[in-house]
Amino acid sequence: MKPGGATEPPSGTANPDRAPDLPDLERIPIEEHIVEIVSDSGEGAQKAGQSFGTLSAKMGNGVWTVEIIPAEIQPPQRSRAGASGIRIRLGSGKVTNMGDTADLVVAFNEQVLYSRIEQGALRQGTLVLLENKWATSNMPEIREAWVRARADFERAGLDVREVPMETECLKLTDNPFRGKNMWVLGLLCHLYQRDLEKAEDQIRTIFRRKGDQVIDLNLKLLRAGTTWARTHLGFYYDLPTRMSDQPLVVMNGNEAVGLGAMASGMEVCSMYPITPATSVSHYLSEVFRDAGGVVHQAEDEIAAIGFAIGCSYAGKTAFTVTSGPGLALKDEFIGLAVMAEVPLVVVVVQRGGPSTGLPTKVEQSDLLSALYAQPGDPPKIILAPATIEECFHFMITARQLAELTRGPVIVLTDANLATGVQPYPRPQFKREWLAPPIDQSPWKPGVPAYDWDPETGFSQRPIPGQKDGMYVLTGLAHDEGSHVAYDPETHERGCNRRSRKVAAFQSTLKSPKVHGEGAGDLLLVGWGSTMGAIEEAVDKARKRGARVSSLHLRILSPFEPGLREIFGGFKKVMTIELNYSDSLADPYITPGNRRYAQLAWLLRAKTLVDVDCFSVVHGHPLQPAMILEVIEGELARLHGQPGRRLETAAPLATGKDPSCLA
């Protein structure tokens, strides 16, 4: 069976531990699959899914997992809004995004399935393994709801099979609410022929703090789930696995940010809780103290960044992490870090806005805010990791750049990276990643605190403790010696030197690489977490003969050089983004007054190329099918055919009613 399919073929060797033949069962060969486990919150669907994902990565599959988060902490049971769970996309090759619609769903009740239908997560033919204890509930309204739902699902074309999860778990435990998830893991282990020993190890790891009794029970549940599936389901999937040549680690983007901070030798994470950024500090709080660091939970976001700036001013490396509303509060201090040239890393895990917006959902709406929201002219560096691996490495780069350029570096990630879990090559630690110990040697007398290199604007900074380096940092306009000065020349010079640092940094960058051919009909430009979905769509379109390529930007301020030249190779350039833009079909909107998506806005200004955009604020990660539709519509129109222009802000899957699952 050849690897690849929709996903990229990996390097490595085919896994010799192939599944044994099960002659009595139907073997269904697959190259990739999307699995969801959905339940009421508290039933452990996420734990089961995460284990399944890790296990699959360990066996050599490409994996991307993403959590399905209910809007409330304790939603009522069996409510549509309460759906909590996880999606795991598996492939024989690398998997870079959550994909489109699910192939298999395990649901702990029928109501939570509705919300997946409403979100367009399922398609006709999706196989649903549904807990059937509700059919015989002693409450008539539950039985009625069950019957209605079964009919709805039938009409929607779902392939529903009832599974007696509760009955089976009751054979082993009196509290199936807690144990069902591991039984389901066992079921999935059969279906995808996972290595049971590895699954058992996984259980021993997750429950290591719970004691032997708990571990034993969960192992029994796992085996029971496997046995039941093998004797009752009549089939299994054959998904090739390939062991990677290199060691891998698997984690989510927020863990990668925290680990990257540790690897960069940062000492302080100063934060105020906000979704979806907080889990960076949850992770760090477990391990940072042993690694020489400390997490400071401040009284608010302003104090959090002020504290980090204080640390940094005193020579200790610090970062602060937040999301949109917190970024708004931090802006005055970010401006101070620009003005007074304090190295600082600010991580912004973007969510939907404006205001409190969509706290748990993804958006890429804070680019312009990061770039411009501070008063005056605030030149700075902005980085945007596109993968979980980059979340790790960009933290190290960000710290180094902050120190090199003596100013703030903003790292924009998002809710999709924050909660997505993906394996990547294990980083090989290098001593130079760590921040050097602080310089306490005497400062050279006579050298001012801002001894700006007239060409690059760079300067070294004195650190408290350095003899003869005393200066008073100020956010007021100041000269080289940090003396407050309001005269026109001094202020012009200060602004110029700070801006020059960004230009000097830009002069060291290379042009970004185009994915696909360097010339063609259409170039899609993206940034951040959407890379996997965009490239998957581009690859699919290219296989069908389309002349489309994509470009993914990781440095958003300053831009990498050569963009205008790259754009020149294409008939049309458009950005693909998760933020708001006006649709030309809307009342009043013309090409002249249209509000473009944020990257498009910047690219138009910087390159003077008529960059178009497709952007949505539907709150979930971009999916390849939607992008493919954009590509096909645009190409048709470029070739003079009546291509549908996929309108921005109009979600593709509008299936509010389950019967319109098409």
């Binding site: 680690v249 690694a291 660091g293 400390v294 009284e299 104090a303 204080g310 200790k316 380096g469």
Partner: protein, 317 residues
């Protein structure tokens, strides 16, 4: 820098810092502004304690009083309006070797920076914190401050402010984990010096409210206090701030106040008939966040590497 020590001994090996070593730019406050007196006293404190200027940091917000760091020749951080305390806390967290001083105006501390005021008291990190309370916004030209007393005619309340002035002392004393609260006046250098000395020696967050004259925007505000010594209540205790007899004699109106008694401190702090000066409260044993914060500052790179690898093992597939 080298020279006579206060006891007239001469030590040629050790640098000796004199007043000039702490003097920065020429102070630009108005003539008669109380800030001048505080500056001189603080410089004396630094000299008396022989604080190495490079190991000393003055952190301020924005306001007339927040210009203070510029007039010192130490490290300084003249940051944002209301935000001196988070910055000072950040500096302190990982640098126990530095001497940290904070200067804030009443707008700075008691209005825009209120959240940080309350929470940094609770953090109880070692630093000397001075609230320059002139009951007015000086830098922005005379608007009502939260500490302005009712009826204050200001640029925002030309016919008199409406609300009673906020008394910062009981608020400070009321915060959980408070460890040092004192009050002094800009016109009594001996008392101010003794107060600063006690604050400097305090192992924690030492908060001093300095009643400060603003001859420009709050002209004559304290005239009565200055004219009538009985309007000042001198808090007297051997555990408190003690003055040489010849100075203490000035104050007829005295109260014995044990600074370990928080309830009595609150009672004194809430008095309006008199202005108590001295030490309201001190507890040297309160939890210190900076001790927690600096516990692992000397983690060697080998350990950081080992931890990182342990974590990568944990995430390994």
């Amino acid at each position: 820098m080298f020279g006579l020590m206060p006891n007239c001994r001469l030590d040629l090996k050790k640098p000796y810092y004199c007043m000039a070593d702490y003097q920065g730019a020429e102070a630009r406050w108005c003539p008669g502004c109380g800030d001048h007196a505080v500056l001189a006293t603080v410089q004396r404190l630094c000299r008396d304690k022989q604080l190495p200027p490079e190991k000393t940091v003055f952190v301020s917000g924005i306001g007339c009083s927040s210009r203070f760091p510029h007039y010192m020749r130490t490290y300084g951080f003249h940051g944002l309006h209301g935000r001196a305390l988070p910055v000072a806390a950040g500096i302190r967290m990982r640098r126990p070797d530095l001497h940290v001083f904070v200067v804030m105006g009443d707008g700075d501390c008691c209005s825009i920076g209120t959240a940080h005021w309350v929470h940094t008291i609770r953090y109880n990190m070692k630093m000397v914190v001075m609230l320059f309370d002139n009951e007015i916004y000086g830098l922005t030209k005379g608007q009502t401050s939260p500490t302005s007393r009712a009826g204050t005619r200001s640029s925002t309340h030309p016919s008199g402010s409406v609300l009673p002035g906020l008394n910062p002392l009981p608020i400070t004393l009321g915060v959980t984990n408070v460890s040092f609260v004192a009050q002094t006046v800009d016109w009594n250098p001996a008392h101010m010096m003794a107060t600063l000395d006690a604050a400097y020696e305090h192992p924690g967050f030492a908060f001093i409210r300095i009643i400060q004259r603003c001859p420009h925007f709050a002209k004559g505000l304290h005239e009565e206090l200055l004219a009538n010594p009985d309007r000042t209540l001198y808090l007297d205790h051997k555990q408190g701030i003690t003055l040489p007899d010849e100075v203490a004699r000035m104050y007829k109106n005295r109260a014995r106040h044990d600074p370990s008694d928080l309830i009595a401190a609150l009672t004194h702090a809430m008095r309006t008939d008199v202005i108590p000066i001295g030490l309201f409260f001190q507890d040297r044993s309160r939890t210190r966040y900076d001790v927690y914060g600096a516990a692992n500052i000397n983690t060697p790179p080998e350990r950081k590497e080992a931890m990182l690898n342990r974590e990568l093992d944990r995430f390994a597939v």
